[in-house]
């Protein structure tokens, strides 16, 4: 066996050498379209994610207009939406479709594929000192499965019956019966097909990320010397690998219920006085299967940003990360716990109250590792020599949003309080702060921080500041008032609420939220302009503009296929030697051996090889 292995590795090397020679000769198609280079695939995911974020944001602006100005008419939208705004009034079923698609797009297409797809692909090989992913081909397939899923989901927006409308959680029986609402017709079918392809894409990508982290680390890069970004991407991929197949199972059973007459989730239903043939199904079963994915999914969204933010904060505070091992331990803890708390989404589904208290207990435990992380970020910032780059501002704001969103999670995790708060705007406020805004802020931080490595140029800082402050202020202006409405019992997903006297007092507040939401949507134009302008005209970047320690900054400004023109770098130290006493500079990259830094070495620090 061992002899075969060695010969196999030599082959791998020869292949890499070939890449160096011929990567200039690649055709446009293999270089930019069907590329197997992880950096190009990362950019493909980033562009697709930006595209979807614009769509998802547009949808939310549309339904915020309805919520904020229920009496107004929107005739000016008719050229865009046609019969969905007949007489200037948004169609109620279209409103449901907007909410559903906003959730689906943001959770899966932007914050899962756009976030993990971009940064896991880009950073895992670069920060580990690998030439590429374990399987470039599977990586390419991962993007193109995602592309196919995107095309189908995008197409469903233009169906005559509209896209899926049963909520992003697609609970049956609503989603399973085409006669229930227009959004459960063809739109729902396409939603399920698209999601099935999406899951395949995520599994192909995730399998690659895990394999690369386990097997392709460069010499010296032990697991305990890996940057926290890699740890977070690794755990994200593990969560995806374990959770997405379960969603696939649930989606498959739902497809059978919809199209093949089975009754997994459907039981004794009357539609318009007619009894359906389905009998014996259990809709709560779907909720169990869905949330077994659904809860890890929120950590799939937030974990990568934990890593990104840790990296950006420590670099820009010019201090080692506080509690490196505690950071890893808390991420491990959160990952494990994420699989045993799913039923806190189902406290009011009629489940056994005793079971509810078990899930409540487990849910509240998540506060502990989350608090450890927050404490460590704050302790890293404490007395740091802080550079307020746009990426750093977004990272610090991430910590703020994570605290304010996380604290309400403790309230919602109580099964008794959830009776009042379930399906109100309190829930909307909670998860938009903690996994919506926070994850977006982490993603922005990542884009601003690694833009120089992606495109060889810098983004404009001043535009970045403008973008940051408007986004940050508006995020709180939108979601803080929502808590207040939610405690008052204001229900989510309602098309109109002016019929209820209780809620008419919230008219002004709703208008206020809508104005803030639409303002922040347009503020993203600063980012978009900055992003696309800087790709072509930005200031040229140096190799290591942030004076960072991790390996991606040891590559050339525009790394080619294979990342390092010469041999792969060797790692001697952890990635967080910032402001080390005795060192001439305030950073020591991971590939600098201890033998070259005698003045700053601690007594136990010497090269291991």
């Amino acid at each position: 066996m061992s002899s075969t292995d060695i010969s196999l590795h030599k082959d791998v090397h020869l292949e890499h050498d070939d890449h160096h020679d011929d990567h200039h000769n690649e055709s446009f198609i293999t270089k930019y379209v069907f590329s197997q280079d992880h950096k190009v695939i990362a950019k493909q995911f980033l562009f697709a994610g930006i595209f979807w974020a614009i769509i998802g944001g547009t949808l939310s602006s549309l339904f915020r207009m309805q919520l904020g100005f229920p009496e107004a008419t929107f005739n000016f939208l008719e050229p865009l939406l046609g019969k969905w705004v007949e007489g200037g009034k948004l169609n109620p079923e279209f409103y449901l479709a907007l909410v559903t698609m906003h959730g689906t797009i943001m959770v899966f297409f932007v914050l899962t594929a756009g976030l993990s797809g971009t940064f896991s692909n880009f950073l895992i090989p670069l920060q580990l000192g690998a030439r590429d992913m374990a399987s470039g081909f599977m990586n390419m397939l991962s993007f193109w499965f995602f592309f196919l899923a995107s095309v189908i989901m995008f197409y469903s927006l233009f169906l005559e019956t509209g896209p899926a409308g049963g909520g992003w959680t697609v609970y049956p029986p609503l989603s399973a019966l085409p006669q229930a609402i227009a959004g459960s017709g063809t739109g729902m079918t396409m939603w399920l097909i698209s999601m099935a392809l999406f899951i395949v894409s995520q599994l192909l990508g995730g399998v690659n990320y895990i394999t690369t982290v386990i097997n392709m680390r460069t010499r010296g890069m032990s697991m305990s010397k890996m940057p926290l970004t890699i740890w977070s991407f690794f755990l994200t991929a593990v969560l995806g690998l374990l959770a997405f197949p379960v969603l696939f199972s649930a989606a498959l059973l739902l497809i059978f219920d919809r199209s093949f007459g089975t009754s997994f989730f459907l039981s004794d239903i009357y539609v318009a006085g007619q009894a359906l043939s389905h009998t014996g199904g259990s809709p709560v079963l779907f909720q169990h299967l869905f949330w077994f994915l659904g809860h890890p999914e929120v950590y799939i969204v937030i974990l990568p940003t934990f890593g990104i933010v840790s990296e950006v904060i420590t670099t820009n505070a010019r201090k080692p990360i506080f509690g490196y091992r505690a950071m890893i331990g808390s991420m491990l803890g959160i990952s494990v716990l994420s699989f045993i708390v799913w039923a806190h989404h189902m406290f009011v589904s009629g489940m056994n109250p005793f079971l509810g208290s078990v899930f409540m207990f487990l849910t509240l435990i998540i506060a502990v590792p989350s608090a450890v992380k927050v404490f460590n970020w704050l302790a890293t910032l404490w007395r740091g020599n802080i550079n307020f780059t746009p990426a750093m501002l977004f990272s610090v704001a991430f910590v703020s949003l994570f605290i304010s969103g996380g604290v309400t999670g403790i309230i919602l995790g109580n099964s008794a309080l959830d009776i009042q708060l379930h399906d109100t705007y309190f829930v909307v406020a909670h998860f938009h702060l903690v996994m919506g805004s926070a994850a977006f802020f982490g993603m922005f931080a990542g884009v601003y921080h690694w833009f120089p490595k992606m495109f060889g140029r810098m983004m404009d800082e001043k535009l970045g500041y403008v973008h940051f402050w408007i986004t940050f202020i508006c995020a709180y202006l939108i979601f803080m008032p929502m808590h207040y409405m939610g405690i008052a019992g204001f229900p989510r997903r309602y098309y109109t609420w002016t019929g209820f006297d209780t809620f008419s007092t919230f008219l002004d507040m709703n208008s206020f939220i809508s104005i803030a939401a639409i303002a922040v949507f347009f503020a993203q134009l600063f980012f978009l302009f900055n992003f696309f302008y800087s790709i072509f005209r930005g200031r040229r970047a140096t190799e290591n503009p942030w004076k960072s320690n991790t390996l991606e900054w040891t590559t050339p400004v525009n790394p080619g296929h294979g990342n390092w023109p010469g041999p792969l770098p060797v790692v001697y130290r952890w990635p967080y030697d910032y402001s080390k006493p005795g060192a001439p500079e305030d950073f020591i990259p991971q590939n600098v051996p201890y033998s070259q830094t005698q003045s700053s070495n601690l007594p136990h620090e010497r090269d291991e090889f």
Binding site: L8, S135, I214, V246, T262, G280, S282, L568
Partner: protein, 193 residues
């Protein structure tokens, strides 16, 4: 520092492709974990049709175990560079695998004869679950057969031998997994009937 650099691949522990295969196996396992736990949860709720498992399933189980034996024999022969036996073993595996699929089809026919249907007004989730479990397993077995064909073709071209074991090794792992998965499903169904 530079002198050290090219040793890096040596400490790569497992063949990455093999690792990828194991991860894919984990994801398939999670799918079936979801199906079988859904089965248990649903069964606890009552309104559950009790019926006899098709008797042919037991025969199919033995056929699939036999195919795994053939596969292992082919793999061991490849290690010993006995190309003839590799081919024979792989082809026997393929035949046994196909026989298993035909047997599963016969199992479905038996269910239909006993009025246990996948869908429709007379169906019960109890029956539908059996179709889903066997159907999704059969789908994965088809992917295994496709993998087998690829290995058979490379064996016919003398590309499977002791110095080039990766492909047949991966195929063997996958095939054994599919067999083990079926044995799990069969025991699960027998215990929950």
């Amino acid at each position: 520092m530079v002198a050290n650099t090219e040793i890096q691949t040596e400490h790569r522990r497992v063949n990455p492709l093999k690792f990828i295969l194991w991860l894919l196996i984990v994801s398939i396992l999670m799918m079936f974990a979801a199906f079988t736990s859904a089965y248990i949860v649903r069964r606890e709720e009552g309104n559950w049709l009790e019926y006899d498992l098709p008797s042919v399933l037991l025969i199919n189980t033995f056929i699939l175990i036999l195919s795994s034996v053939f596969m292992q024999w082919a793999y061991v022969s490849a290690k010993k560079d006995n190309i003839k036996n590799v081919r024979l073993g792989l082809i026997l595996t393929f035949i046994a695998g196909t026989a298993f699929l035909i047997g599963q089809w016969e199992g479905w026919a038996e269910l239909v004869r006993n009025n246990v249907f996948f869908g429709g007004s007379t169906s019960n989730p109890a029956g539908s679950f059996l179709y889903v479990l066997t159907g999704v397993h059969a789908f994965h077995l088809v992917t295994g057969l496709i993998f087998l064909i690829i290995v058979v073709i490379s064996a016919l071209r003398y590309r499977v031998h002791s110095k080039n074991l990766t492909r047949i090794e991966l195929c063997t792992i996958y095939w054994h997994f599919l067999g083990a998965l079926w044995i799990y499903l069969y025991i699960f169904l027998t215990l929950n009937h």
